[in-house]
Amino acid sequence: MLNLIKKEIALCVHPTAFIFLFFAVLVFVPNYPYEVIFFFSCLSIFFCCMMTRENGDIAFSCALPVKKEHIPFAKMLVVFGLQCIILLLVGVIAAIKGAVLPAEQYVNQAGISANLVLVGNGAILLGTFNLIFFPCYFKKPDKIGVPFVIGAIVVFFVIVVFIVLRWVTPLYSTTLNGLNSENTGAKSVALAIGIVIYAVLSAVSCKLSIKNFQRVDL
């Protein structure tokens, strides 16, 4: 498995996957729907899958001394790793923003502020994308466009839901909004819920993807 992961990183990860990690700094942009940062992470998965297809990577990997089910698992582990890095970076850079900017500049008029809840929301978005995209992709690894478009539509829908929640519910607009130092307990719970949802959705996605990939004829 470790060798497969190394091969993935060396030969299949598109450079944008690393470049888009730096988009975490977008949390410094005033009045911006910060959840969109996580969409770039989804976009990099699309590029990686394109690269996999153009390189004939799946056929190459299947001929290696590995079990067939290890191939989707390794690819997904690499993606999960990248997703965890973007979540971490957003959390860290958001905390830096909170520490260096005055409180009035910290308020986001386009959605939730850059805080722990944003990281939780991001985790839910990424988990949702994983659940939709990967099982569909590993059913027909040559068809990347349709799974991505469906995944992207759902991700944007969930982003809209988060933005609406920010404006219509007191929980999101007051309790979970603003600096991490305010209502830290509630924000931590929201983050934890997001991470749990991400883990569950990604695990289900993994299981379905492996099952679908077993049936694929290369």
């Binding site: 190394k6 030969l11 004939g56 056929a59 001929a63 001394p65 079990k67």
Partner: protein, 290 residues
């Protein structure tokens, strides 16, 4: 013990069926998998390597492929018609990713092959000629000590000189390294040059005339090519796969068949045998469907 044993390999597609294909490859032998385009040669190879979900069993050096997949794959070198993977990567990058999968990877052997095949590791795959791509695939496959080479049309797209060079390399490998080889091709001159045995697939089945890995000479000795002046003459002796040619008709006859001296016969080449057996098969299929 055979290097490869394939038993009743079956794969059903809506438009094509690979029907209970069974054959074996003897240790140290070169077996050619032949047949026209689309008869199931690549499907057979994919079935052997479990790249497709096919029924039937495959064993390599006595080990069941499914039960001991990881061990079996360590002994196989797969060359899928050149090297179509990672065109933008260098040979070195691919080798670095590939080698750790094989516990028996031999770096000095790999470097020896690179120098023998005149490959430069800093080059990208897209910069290699088709012949060089095949050589790189061979270098990778052989440097982990593969005892069985499975190749899917490795010589298609190669010029005659590169094909000749490829055949020389394979013969050298079999002679020096003792590897066994199964390769699919529709270039019969390559087959005649290096193959010990043939496995002849037609319409998804091993042809009845050659049910198992069949000594090539045996197949060539089985038929003669008869030239007839009329279709009636050909029908009278039940010639196989009769077809019109520039002057009259041609068909295959069993070599031991007694025929009148008025019928001209010559030695059948492998091309003749394939063409006429395929024609016979098509006619039978046509009769059945009517």
């Amino acid at each position: 013990m055979n290097a490869l044993e394939v038993r009743e390999l079956t794969k059903v597609y809506p438009e094509f069926t690979l029907d209970k294909v069974s054959f074996f490859v003897k240790q140290g032998h070169i077996s050619g998998l032949i047949g026209r385009n689309g008869v199931g040669k690549s499907t057979t190879i994919k079935g052997i390597l479990r790249l497709i979900n096919a029924e039937g069993s495959v064993s390599v050096f006595g080990k069941d492929f499914l039960k001991e997949e990881m061990v079996v794959k360590q002994t196989i070198g797969y060359v899928g018609g050149g090297f179509r993977y990672y065109p933008m990567n260098t040979l070195a990058a691919i080798r670095k990713a590939y080698a750790p999968f094989y516990s028996t990877w031999n770096q000095s052997k790999y470097e020896k092959f690179l120098s023998q095949f005149e490959l430069i590791e800093s080059k990208k795959i897209k910069e290699l000629s088709e012949g060089m791509k095949v050589k790189f695939a061979l270098a990778l496959a052989l440097s982990h000590g593969a005892k069985l080479l499975i190749m899917d049309e490795p010589t298609s797209g190669l010029d005659p000189l590169s094909r000749e060079e490829f055949c020389d390399i394979i013969l050298q490998l079999v002679g020096e390294e003792g590897v066994s080889v199964l390769f699919s091709t529709h270039i019969t001159s390559d087959l005649m040059r290096i193959a010990d045995d043939i496995v002849y697939i037609s319409q998804g089945k091993i042809l009845a005339a050659c049910p198992l890995a069949c000594p090539l000479k045996e197949l060539l000795c089985k038929y003669k090519l008869a030239h007839f002046s009329s279709l009636a003459d050909a029908s009278a002796v039940n010639a196989i796969g009769v077809k019109a040619v520039k002057k009259g008709y041609e068909g295959l006859l069993p070599r031991d068949m007694q025929i009148s001296e008025s019928i001209a016969v010559t030695d059948a080449t492998i091309d003749n045998i394939i063409v006429h057996l395929e024609k016979e098969n098509e006619e039978k299929k046509h009769v059945k469907s009517n």
